[in-house]
Symmetry: C2
Subunit: 81 residues, 2 copies
Amino acid sequence: MNTISVVAACLTTLSFVPQALQVIKTKDTNGISLGMYSMFVIGVLLWTIHGININDYALIGANGITFLLASIILTYKLKYK
Amino acid sequence: MNTISVVAACLTTLSFVPQALQVIKTKDTNGISLGMYSMFVIGVLLWTIHGININDYALIGANGITFLLASIILTYKLKYK
């Protein structure tokens, strides 16, 4: 992990915070794609499992947090579609 | 790269296809967070640069494609907000 990859990991992981806060606040999920979040949640879960398998804590941390945030967005999309 | 990481990379990268198609088709970007896509586009661009620096073609390919797809979504968000 060098500086670029740490900044990249923080940005891609934390970018889901404003999206999660927006759907929680507005409950407006019309523009959000169910297909995207269905695929994305499974994808980051698999990344987290891969991180556990190879004992890579950066991979586990970044993808674990992204999984939680994307799951919130997916839950709101399913609830308020 | 093992099977889990390949499937994970395909899912997280290709998940942006249905979201990009949806914004192109509907131009409805109300539910989409500008903050998310601003951070995410810069983040995947940095991942792509990191991939170029360490000569990792999987990293370059997955993040390069994600960068293009997320840029389309960000462009529509800025144009039709």
